[in-house]
């Protein structure tokens, strides 16, 4: 488990990093290294150049303005848990982050690294998709924003083109009164999700659902976000049968995999249950927030 030979570069600016990524045939950026280093050691990834982003200026900021929250790609996952202001603005990211591996890994691992890696069982892609987030991608021709639902294309495959770099993720702050929950089934605490569901619910003054979001991971090759969610739940009373109906429908629409930890059928059933529970928990929190 020793990596093959590779070149190493340590740019200090995004432009410099982009220049190397554009020039080299198979350069790979490294952020926290929590996925790439094992792949290197297993010799499953054999990049010619590793572009270390840890010294690049300006990628580790969290900015909140004009009704949006922009999280730099190099922000450590751990910060999602420890930054109280960020938690208040986007509580679902806090809920999701707690399921990512272990503290030591979250301390190294980055928000952008997880999103760009596009692991179909990772938490952050589902959470960002549930929040209807946008991934900010910079290339030689400048910046573009890609909707989360368009960014994830398949297992370990994203909309990032050769020579492009994910520099940030943007989400809308959750309005006051929003409840959230991220529920996961994994073989052990910190293991990859067998399946997981992240939900946000905001109840209106009348007690009915005013807004909701939902994203699942471990349910196929990419995160699953039901486009029909608003149509089904907005304006409805947040009762258990509604959420169970949503869960049941999610179960019929996702296309999970079999693996040695559980069949596709198991994942479908668990995803339905977690969906219903996450929506119910988020609604409950919203109710407590409003009260």
């Amino acid at each position: 488990m020793k990596p093959p030979r590779f070149e190493y570069s340590a740019p200090t600016s995004v432009d410099e990093a982009l220049e190397i990524l554009g020039r080299e045939e198979d350069a790979t950026p490294i952020a926290g290294g929590q996925s790439l280093v094992p792949l290197l050691n297993m010799r499953m990834a054999k990049p010619s150049v590793i572009v270390d982003l840890n010294g690049v200026e300006g990628l580790d900021a969290v900015e909140a303005d004009d009704g949006r929250v922009r999280i730099g790609a190099m922000v450590r996952q751990r910060r999602l848990e420890t930054d109280a202001e960020l938690r208040a603005r986007v509580p679902l990211l806090f809920d999701a982050a707690r399921h990512i591996a272990h503290v030591a890994i979250r301390t190294r691992g980055t928000v952008g690294g997880s999103l760009a890696h596009a692991d179909p069982a990772a938490e952050l892609p589902a959470a960002v998709a549930a929040l209807d987030g946008r991934l900010v991608v910079r290339g030689p021709d400048g910046e573009r924003a890609v909707a989360a639902t368009d960014f994830f294309l398949g297992p370990l495959m994203s909309a990032l083109d050769h020579g492009e770099l994910l520099v940030a993720v943007e989400v809308d702050p959750s309005p006051p009164g929003t409840g959230s929950a991220f529920l996961e089934v994994a073989r052990t605490h910190g293991a990859f999700a067998l399946t997981a569901a992240g939900a946000t619910v905001r109840l209106g003054a009348d007690g009915a659902i005013a807004a909701a979001g939902l994203g699942l991971t471990g349910v196929g090759s990419i995160p699953y976000v039901p486009e029909w969610l608003d149509e089904v739940v907005v304006g409805e009373a947040p009762d258990a049968s509604l959420f169970e109906r949503v869960g049941a429908r999610v179960g019929t629409e996702i296309k999970p995999y079999d693996d040695i930890h559980g069949s596709a059928d198991y994942r479908r059933r668990a995803a339905s249950v977690l969906t219903a529970r996450a929506l119910a928990a988020a609604a409950e929190r919203s109710r407590n927030e409003v009260a």
């Binding site: 297993m42 010799r43 073989r187 605490h189 293991a191 067998l194 040695i260 668990a270």
Partner: protein, 789 residues
């Protein structure tokens, strides 16, 4: 006050916890090179040719060895547990044929592990894949690929063992109830934090080999290496530095130990190899995998009158160091602690194209316990008797111990008192009532019970040899008083994280009347420590190793008292040693110290009695007349989420008797750790293969180990019945926690799911299998309803 029985901090913990411990991977020698192995990607294949020219030509590569480069007279890797099986020869490196994925094929020696792996990837092998078998049931089918077709085996059965006591047929004929169950226990392995590692250095001038290895079997590794290489034993020095966990997997002598020794000779350099995590899943022996069918006969009052067992072990591709010993032990443990007058067992060791099976904490006993205890639960349900009552009714009562069981003679104890105390704790903690309340509120909470005994303090050498084991069961200890009065203990038992040096120091301290901190315990160097018959395993370190230390220390004490008596002009029989001061009992002055005696023994012979030899050093052996049989009750409270299949362990009660306890803190650590591995067996760990024998696992993403987050804090209580056969009364505890835990955890889940009437006969019980079990049970009920209608 004695030191034995006292809670003491372990002397090595500061070193280990601050990262100062030196393991094989921390060792370096001048000019040392690094090794990497090329392993078979096929479960069964002929090697038509190997081209190493590109690898050899790479800068920084010092040697590449394949099976063709092995010395012509190199012996196969030996098996010391010969229980009447067909021979399954395999070598340090494959010679023309591989029989499992991961089998070592070539070794590269290079300046760095990186270059070694680069060169390994340049080796070109012309493989001829052969039909292969990865499932034991299929391996028994007519027409299945025969793993040893080249040795003209007619089938894949490597060995069959049978044993019978009493009139089994009559017991089953006259029974009021017979239950029959089938069980499947998965393949696992002793996954330790430190993988294996070897560092070898030849001194060509004197033809002497020094081998550092992460091993539990210091002298046995040396002797087996000598046997394989054709060297006299004393030309090899084996050293064992810190070990980061062994759990039985390091009780084995591996091909890599031979191959690295040969690589060091071929390259003329010290060579180090540290098994990487990925290869550890294939290259370290696997364990446990068995299928079993068991029948129990009982009378209506709950008396168990007979047991029949048929166990099939999936041994993988070869008989490793301990042969099919664990499978054999499973079969002869099928009466557990119950007074069952008749039994007939058959064990079949079957080869498949998978990693060879070997030792893991419990050595066949967790399987036996699972098979028996789950069947006793079934019997209780069918008879309408409470599980604990059925066990009480069948326990061998204390007054009838010692008693010959199916094979062994159980020694001493009070099983009923032990189970009763565990049930008392369960009641004290309010679980029966809480279970009822939680169930009423829609939660699925269950209680599981198991009772185990353990074959420990291995063992009587003659009995081992009679059974076919080519090792002794004794231990030898050397104890020396140094010139300054401190004491050094030399033992062949290895310190592998279990804390044995502390326990031995406590025993020695009591015997000599000195403080443990005056005692150094030396382990892990064949040039220093005396021979150990069996090595560090089988829960024997404290019992057999400890008794040997006590004997040697007793002899040392006699000499110390003779010298002190002379110095004090007193009668040696009137003297006592207290905290290193020797004086007449009841009269603290005059006194001499251990330092005074040490000085007399080594420097001032003028102070010695006439005719007394200088120096104080004694060596003694202990060969136990019988095994010891610790025992205990596991009670588990578990909750199941019936929608997701997730299991939470709410409480864990463990009451046991391991004889005299030397250091309760260490004993409790052993239990907590053993239980953790038993929970791993019940819920998490598995090494699945496909039908052809290709592994479906590669990393920890597939091999799921429980973490602290999944494990309950075990509530432990000790009972104390000293072993009648071991001086000091220690029985041993190293494996205990792993034995009864799988059955208890699974029983708790089954109890939690009792509204669904599921029956769980296979492990691991994963969230997905729980939902399947519930669905299957519902389908069966529907079928019954349909059939009834």
């Amino acid at each position: 006050m004695s030191w034995v029985g006292r809670r003491m901090r372990r002397r090595e913990d500061g070193e280990l916890l601050t990262g100062q411990g030196r393991f094989v991977g921390d060792l370096s020698r001048p000019g040392m090179a690094h090794a990497a192995f090329l392993r078979s990607p096929f479960p069964n294949a002929r090697i038509d040719s190997i081209d190493v020219s590109a690898a050899t030509a790479m800068p920084g590569v010092h040697a590449v060895l394949t099976g063709d480069d092995l010395p012509a007279d190199l012996a196969p890797q030996p098996n010391t547990h010969l229980f009447g099986e067909r021979e399954t020869p395999y070598y340090a490196l494959a010679r023309g044929r591989v029989r499992y994925t991961g089998e070592p094929v070539a070794v590269v020696v290079a300046d760095s592990p990186y270059i070694a792996e680069d060169a390994r990837d340049e080796i070109v092998v012309d493989w001829e894949p052969l039909p292969s078998v990865g499932d034991v049931d299929r391996a028994l089918d007519d027409g299945a690929p025969v793993v040893y077709d080249d040795l003209d085996w007619p089938d894949n059965v490597c060995a069959t063992f049978e044993k019978e006591i009493g009139d089994v047929d009559r017991a089953f004929e006259e029974a009021d109830l017979v239950v029959t169950e089938r069980y499947r226990i998965q393949r696992q392995f002793a996954c330790s934090l430190e993988t294996r590692g070897v560092l070898a250095e030849w001194d060509a001038n004197v033809n002497e080999l020094t081998l550092w290895t992460s091993s539990q079997i210091l002298h046995i590794a040396r002797d087996l290496l000598a046997q394989v290489l054709g060297l006299p034993e004393h030309r090899i020095r084996v050293l064992v530095p810190r070990i980061g966990g062994g759990f039985g997997a390091k009780f084995h002598f591996y091909p890599e130990e031979t191959a690295i020794a040969l690589a060091a000779r071929a390259s003329g350099r010290p060579v180090r190899w540290v098994e990487d995590r990925m290869e550890s899943f294939l290259a370290t022996v696997h364990a446990r995998e068995q299928r079993a069918e068991i029948s129990m006969a009982a009378l209506a009052d709950g008396t168990i009158t007979g047991v029949k067992g048929e166990i099939v072990g999936d041994m993988g591709a070869a008989m490793h160091t301990v042969g099919y010993g664990p499978l054999w032990l499973t079969s002869v443990m099928l009466t557990n602690v119950y007074e069952i007058p008749s039994a007939r067992v058959r064990a079949r060791a079957v080869v498949t194209n998978k990693t060879p099976l070997g030792s893991y904490r419990g050595w066949g006993q967790p399987q036996a316990n699972f098979i028996v205890e789950r069947t006793v639960d079934r019997l209780a349900r069918e008879l309408g008797i409470e599980r604990e009552d059925l066990r009480r009714r069948n326990f061998i009562p204390p007054e009838r111990l010692p008693r010959k069981s199916l094979h062994h003679t159980l020694d001493s104890g009070d099983y009923r008192a032990c189970l009763d105390r565990a049930l008392e704790l369960l009641a004290e903690r309010g679980w029966r009532q809480r279970q009822a309340e939680l169930r009423a509120s829609g939660r699925y909470v269950g209680i599981g019970i198991s009772f185990y005994t353990e074959n420990s303090a291995l063992g009587p050498s003659r009995m081992l040899n009679e059974g076919g084991v080519q090792q002794g069961g004794y231990d030898i200890a050397r104890v020396r008083v140094e010139p300054g009065g401190e004491v050094t203990v030399y033992t062949g038992i290895c310190e592998m994280g279990q804390g044995i040096t502390n326990a031995l120091a406590q025993i020695c301290a009591d015997t000599l009347g000195i403080d443990p901190d005056q005692i150094t315990v030396v382990t892990g160097d064949t040039s220093q420590v005396p021979y150990t018959g069996y090595g560090t395993g089988a829960s024997r370190g404290a019992a057999v190793g400890g008794a040997a230390v006590a004997r040697a220390a007793t002899a040392v004490r006699a000499k110390v008292l003779r010298i002190a008596a002379h110095m004090l002009e007193a009668n040696e029989h009137d003297l006592v040693i207290e905290s290193g001061r020797i004086h007449v009992k009841g009269a603290p002055e005059p006194a001499v110290t251990m330092a005074d005696v040490g000085r007399a023994a080594y420097i001032r012979a003028i102070e010695l009695p006439e005719g007394e030899d200088p120096g104080i050093e004694e060596i003694r052996a202990f060969d136990p007349p019988q095994f010891a049989w610790p025992y205990g009750a596991n009670i588990v409270v578990a909750e199941v989420d019936v929608e997701t299949g997730e299991v939470s362990l709410l409480d864990y009660i463990y009451v046991h008797d391991c004889g005299t306890i030397i250091n309760p803190t260490i004993v409790e650590g052993q239990i907590q750790g053993g239980v953790a591995q038993g929970i791993g067996a019940a819920l998490f760990e598995s090494l699945p293969y496909d039908e052809a024998g290709q592994p479906l696992f590669a990393t920890f993403m597939q091999y799921v180990l429980p973490t602290a987050a999944e494990l309950p804090s075990v509530v432990i209580e000790h009972q104390h019945t000293p072993s009648p056969n071991i001086p000091g009364g220690m029985k041993g505890v190293g494996e205990a926690g792993a034995i009864g835990s799988p059955a208890a955890v699974v029983a708790a889940i089954e109890d939690a799911l009792s509204p669904f009437a599921v029956r769980i006969n296979a492990t691991p019980v994963t969230p997905a299998t729980i939902l399947e079990l519930i669905a299957d049970a519902a389908a069966q009920r529907r079928e019954k309803v349909v059939a009834g209608a």
